[in-house]
């Protein structure tokens, strides 16, 4: 069983999309933030009570709307309540699509049971037992709360060029990927760290029978980057 919180689900195109499910801690913080927002709205509306009956009625309706429809409205229109948004969370169906009206309604109406007996006791136990951190409402509605992922910058360091040094033949796939990952990330690492990683990588390669001794220092970095370039670009038609 994987130890991380990435859940893969297969799209109709047959590729795996990763969803990073959110645990109880950020969800509890989001809940607290939403509670604070609702409280502020109610306090802001409280001067309405000066209108006696009419204002009191409006206030009671506001209590109802805030309790039951605030989460549904925000989830259906924006994918998350303001509190969840602040925590970088998103509510989705368990296939990764944005949450719809009926699912959002179910998960929020069943909040009653998750709240039982006090302050989401059942909900907390349930999120801790379920491997996708779903509370009862999520289980019934088929929804997940996930981390809205950061967008990748799109500009990867260490773009590949033609050429490079031919890597030793028969490298395992994992080693090839380690070399490529090193090339992509090298610019963001400190010099000493680059040297350390490059020397470690070289130590894992089969040593050439007739060649010179293993490169050390910056020479090692250059050699690994040369291999990386060669692995990435290669020859046309290969």
């Amino acid at each position: 069983m994987p130890l991380d919180t990435i859940r893969l689900n297969e799209t109709p195109e047959g590729v795996d999309l990763g969803l990073r499910v959110a645990g109880p801690a950020p969800r509890a913080l989001a809940l607290a933030a939403d509670g604070a927002i609702r409280l502020v709205i109610l306090l802001a509306l409280s001067p309405l009570s000066a209108l006696s009956g009419l204002g009191l009625g409006l206030n009671l309706i506001a209590v109802f709307l805030l309790e039951w429809l605030y989460p549904v409205t925000f989830e259906v229109l924006y994918g998350a309540t303001p509190g969840k948004r602040a925590m970088g969370l998103l509510v989705v169906h368990d296939d990764g699509t944005p949450v719809g009206l009926s699912a959002s309604l179910i998960r929020n109406l069943l909040r009653v049971v998750d709240f039982f007996p006090l302050f989401y006791g059942v909900g907390l136990v349930c999120t801790l037992v379920d491997r996708d951190f779903r509370r009862l409402g999520d289980l019934a509605a088929g929804t997940l709360v996930v981390h809205a992922q950061r967008r990748s910058t799109g500009a990867r360091a260490g773009r590949t060029h033609a050429g490079g040094t031919p890597a030793p033949p028969g490298l395992p796939i994992a080693t090839q990927q380690a070399i490529l990952a090193f090339c992509e990330r090298a610019r963001r690492l400190s010099g000493a760290r680059r040297i350390e990683l490059a020397e470690t990588l070289l130590a894992h390669l089969p040593s050439p029978a007739t060649g010179p001794a293993r490169a050390r220092g910056w020479a090692a970095v250059e050699q690994v980057e040369g291999y990386g370039t060669w692995l990435a670009s290669g020859r046309a038609g290969d």
Binding site: L54, W68, L109, E184
Partner: protein
């Protein structure tokens, strides 16, 4: 093909996809994307293939992560569930709600029995025995109840100085209180259905006791005209909320040939439709209770409106949505249509 040539050959398509994606994500701000949005699905599927290829060929992790990110961002735009609010609401009221109710008729009948049998028995018993109501409420509550419907006091549902804005306050109270109770009756069904059963029975007992006790005291001429108007909507809505809760309980106790989780999910879809419809009925009941039940119309008129209400509710449940107009979705509340 090695990574370099692969990237070079696909770069143009990825750039197109990226610009379409930016347009989709910022919809509203920039209504005129350079490329036609109709190209999006094709570009998306091609990108998925590229992502799968990149993974299978063990290209650099950075490239794979970048493609995954592009796929992930595009996915919700292609597989978004459509929410056409007004069409959905209309279809729901005209067909989705009554059809679901008929499909779950047995659970609804059970909920009705759990509610109306205690109501009738307790009502008759309290009508016969003036002491019995104290087994449910303490004397302060009974005294308050009696003062509310005392023929010598004001009309029920209104304060001593009757004003239109008091009606509105009571409307707010009915909305918050009654619909909240309905939602809780449903949610409590997740406790193996027991929560809904308990709430249904206890509500039945309380309402029955109130009616029987007040009739015995001779307060009937005040009590019955007041409740007759909103009764049809409120009582049936409570039963429907209870039925929705029982659906959840049934999924957990007797899931049939599904796993408990799958049964819960399947039943929750119908249950949500029932609760949504019941909430609208409770809203209607709150309007009637606040603005009509408390009004000064003659008792005969109020009884007539009450009977009309029952006929209307029954006719709606029995007949609405029987004839398919052709376009309406069968399950109006779910909105599962896929489309870009």
């Amino acid at each position: 093909m090695r990574q370099g040539p692969f990237e070079a050959s696909r770069a143009a398509a990825w750039a197109d996809y990226r610009s379409l994606l930016t347009a989709l994500e910022g919809r509203g701000r920039d209504p005129s994307p350079v490329l036609p949005l109709a190209r999006f699905p094709a570009l998306y599927r091609r990108l998925c293939a590229d992502y799968a290829l990149a993974r299978a060929r063990r290209y650099a992790p950075g490239l794979i992560a970048e493609l995954h990110d592009l796929v992930r961002r595009g996915y919700p735009h292609l597989y978004r569930r459509r929410n056409a609010w007004w069409a959905l609401a209309l279809g729901f009221m005209a067909a989705g709600f009554p059809r679901t109710l008929r499909r779950q008729a047995r659970v609804c009948a059970l909920a009705a029995a759990l509610f109306f049998l205690p109501l009738l028995v307790m009502g008759l018993a309290c009508w016969q025995d003036g002491e019995l109501i104290y087994s449910l409420m303490d004397s302060a509550q009974v005294a308050e109840l009696e003062s509310l419907y005392d023929p010598d006091g004001g009309r029920p549902g209104r304060g001593p100085e009757r004003q239109a804005d008091t009606d509105f306050m009571m409307f707010g109270f009915y909305v918050m209180n009654n619909i909240g109770i309905g939602f809780r009756t449903f949610g409590a069904g997740l406790l193996l259905g027991l929560g809904s059963v308990l709430i249904l029975i206890s509500n039945g007992l309380m309402i029955g006791a109130t009616a029987g006790h007040l009739t015995r005291l001779g307060f009937g001429p005040v009590f019955w005209p007041f409740v007759s108007g909103h009764g049809p909507f409120e009582l049936t809505a409570i039963v429907i909320c209870g039925a929705a809760g029982l659906l959840l309980g049934r999924a957990l106790i007797a899931p049939g040939r599904l796993t408990r989780l799958a049964a819960l999910r399947a039943n929750a879809r119908d249950a949500a439709v029932l609760v949504g419809g019941a909430a609208l009925m409770l809203l209607l009941a709150a309007v009637v209770e606040a603005f009509w039940s408390a009004s000064g119309a003659a008792a005969g008129v109020k009884y007539a409106v009450g009977v009309l209400g029952w006929v209307a509710v029954m006719a709606y449940f029995a007949l609405a949505g029987r004839v398919d107009g052709g376009a309406g979705p069968v399950r109006g509340g779910s909105g599962d249509d896929h489309g870009p």
